[in-house]
Symmetry: C2
Subunit: 438 residues, 2 copies
């Protein structure tokens, strides 16, 4: 069966067959997405995009993080970028992309205009996210390595399918929407470190709304814009694998379930170490920068070029510093709060002294989601630590972590949002949209 | 000097140094673009895009072909697609793309909102078109052959630069606008034959408005999104040549001057033959399907797979049929009118009989803009014919051809439009915009 037919089958799955565990993760992603979006409202790029939206105006019924309602295409653009501004949103390592920031903005905006339920947003997101992961896997690592940003490229297809599902596209309309997305999708990694990175998430979301709406209006497009001759995949990947992942097809398997959340406001490459140290502190409560004499950490070698800054000069550089972050965890600093990472912290003498007692070694036997190491305590005890981000945490533990993150970013409003999400099944999409407010 | 610096220099050229012959061609392109746009108003895809614009509404001051004013981003999207709907707009063979449909919609929409002059639209277009041709040449034939549509990809950069020039971006803002375009530009040839092809022109124009406006609002982006590491060119071309064309740099050379216009509503591959036959008829007025016994035509071999349909069944197929078109020219049919190409014409017995007296041969010594051949007359005379589209016609001859095309497509309104364009230097962009009306 061709990839386009498999994707069209996935897009048309009835709500009743969507697996409950995957839906539960999609709801956690929705909560985390709203948290990240609201926490991104005051970022400069978010204000600039709201300004663009205000200048255009329009008969908009779609909610905008921190702004007035706008037409769905514009709301998706602003919300995608705003929610990715802190780079604190969820990640899927199947294709390596950020599903929520590309897909929720499209699904929510279209659902608010169409007047459907909040549950329809969750379901459309889940189906779109699953499609984006699988299309991203077909594009493969070569796509990412060539310079494309899966969040934007594979994400646009996910956004198109999610929006198209809410618009109740027929199979042939959905085929056209995907074809139009093939010629509309874009996004490069060379934007990293600039406002262009979060813009990419907005691009994907906005493209999704546009392509789904045009298909609903009867626009035609290539029959197989995805993997057909000179379709998106062959033009954007030097070694596509359209069979990747299909040995375990949906609905039995939703690869989306492996979604990972950032619980710390720093580089993902440091999270396994942080979790390993947090576990050690739970098990041995008196661990601290005083009682620990040294730490030898092993990590996947690719991270050494990314997040092993030995002497960070700014708060931003602290986010990429194993030996600073290790001291922060052992001295009880809240790594979930973005404002923890101040320039003053980079000059902290206690952390600076502790940093000198940490060694980091590349170990190719570890995946890029694993960290291992040994702590030597002042009394001579050796303590092995390890963590694998690839091991999914129980839902309750994840939920607790996300609630903590919400409080860290939004204060009490984070907990209010969590409580509101517990009544999600009774909400309309428009009621859900109101939670984008500041 | 790096390509990005060369392009930034080009974008910043003062109006006074823009060469007059290039400006004259840009004015012809503006006239031809308005003609194509107005002739495309009733195409189904144009109506669907106007519907999208009406649904969104907004504080729009930018004119829309056949519709109500809209915000500039939306007007650019609708006008780009509408003016490319008939595929009758201008072509540049340096990179092989359609500059007008990607760039004029962006320049005009932004100029109407900014309240600048019609002349500023022409100048911004010329600079943007020159940049798009040169960026397209850096992307190279490999880019096109991989499946990308230069009208959309190189065109988006031209649209960004044209819009940015009207917004008076500083050099660093223009750099950011180009960087943002690098992550926003898209467009595939696999859309050909569907509404996705004209959509590509609208995508390019709309991307240009969006990227220029965001840069004006202070958005940041990659320093060299164009040819820097994992920039647009290295990610979208397997063999880029960033020096291509720069042995003759602007302002001394404007490659744009080689712009070609379609004067016949059929496949570009047949135009050299049509012009050769028209020249022969001017020189030998009694040439007709009666006096001509046979025609042997030689053409670049690539066209044999494109426009050598021996027995067209529909009006659309006639557009790709040398032997039908030869008879049409010799019997005085108006090849400039789109409605000449009816299904009834494909069943015309006189043309069918004449078609059997025509032979077509591939000749690799001819470029794809050349045609040569020999006519054998009933009295035994042999008459050699030839035409090279690469030889630019004198401006007056081009203008006459475009006026004839305008009359063929728009009737008397075509001539009214031509007269209005003669007073272009006194018009504001808003007055110019009113000529998009039906």
């Amino acid at each position: 069966m061709s990839l386009i037919d498999r994707i069209l089958d996935l897009a048309a799955l009835p709500a009743g067959v969507l697996p409950k565990p995957a839906l539960a993760m999609a709801r956690l992603s929705l909560f985390d997405w709203l948290v990240c979006g609201r926490a991104g409202i005051n970022e400069p790029l978010s204000g600039k995009l709201r300004r663009l939206a205000e200048d255009e105006g329009g008969r908009g019924a779609a909610s905008v993080f921190g702004g007035a309602p706008a037409p769905a295409r514009m709301a998706a653009l602003v919300n995608g970028a705003t929610s990715h501004a802190l780079d604190y949103d969820d990640t899927h390592f199947g294709h390596v992309g950020h599903p929520s920031v590309a897909i929720f903005p499209a699904a929510l905006a279209v659902a608010e205009e169409a007047g459907t339920s909040a549950q329809s947003v969750v379901e459309a997101f889940l189906v779109g996210a699953e499609a984006s992961v699988r299309i991203g896997m077909a594009l493969g690592a070569v796509h990412y390595n060539r310079g494309f940003h899966q969040t934007a490229t594979a994400g646009a297809f996910g956004a198109t399918i999610a929006a198209g599902r809410i618009l109740e596209l027929t199979r042939e309309e959905m085929r056209a929407a995907i074809g139009l997305c093939a010629t509309r999708a874009s996004g490069l990694k060379s934007q990293f470190g600039t406002m262009g990175k979060p813009y990419n998430a907005g691009i994907a979301a906005s493209n999704g709304v546009e392509c789904a709406r045009l298909a609903k209006l009867g626009f035609t497009s290539a029959d197989d814009g995805l993997a057909g001759a000179q379709g998106f995949i062959p033009t954007h990947s030097d070694a596509p694998d359209t069979e990747a992942g299909w040995e375990t097809p949906p609905p039995a398997t939703f690869l989306f379930e492996d979604i990972k959340y950032k619980l710390h406001a720093c580089c993902h490459g440091t999270h396994a170490m942080i979790e390993a140290l947090l576990t050690a502190r739970r098990e041995t409560p008196d661990l601290s920068t005083v009682t620990v004499e040294s730490l030898h950490l092993r990590t996947n070698p690719r991270w050494l070029a990314v997040c092993d800054i030995k002497a960070p000069r700014t708060g931003l550089e602290v986010k990429f510093s194993y030996n600073w972050l290790a001291g922060m965890v052992l001295s009880g600093k809240d790594t979930a709060r973005d404002d923890t990472y101040s320039d003053a912290l980079a000059a902290d003498p206690e952390l600076g002294a502790f940093a000198g007692r940490i060694t980091v070694e590349g170990d190719a036997s570890l995946t890029d989601m694993q960290a291992e190491g040994s702590l030597k305590l002042a009394d001579g005890t050796q303590l092995a630590i390890d963590h694998d981000l690839g091991r999914q945490l129980p839902e309750a533990e994840l939920a607790a972590g996300l609630r903590n993150k919400a409080r860290a970013l939004l204060g009490d409003r984070g907990e209010v949002l969590w409580q509101a999400m517990q009544g999600l099944s009774a909400l309309s999409a428009r009621e859900l949209g109101r939670h984008t407010g500041a």
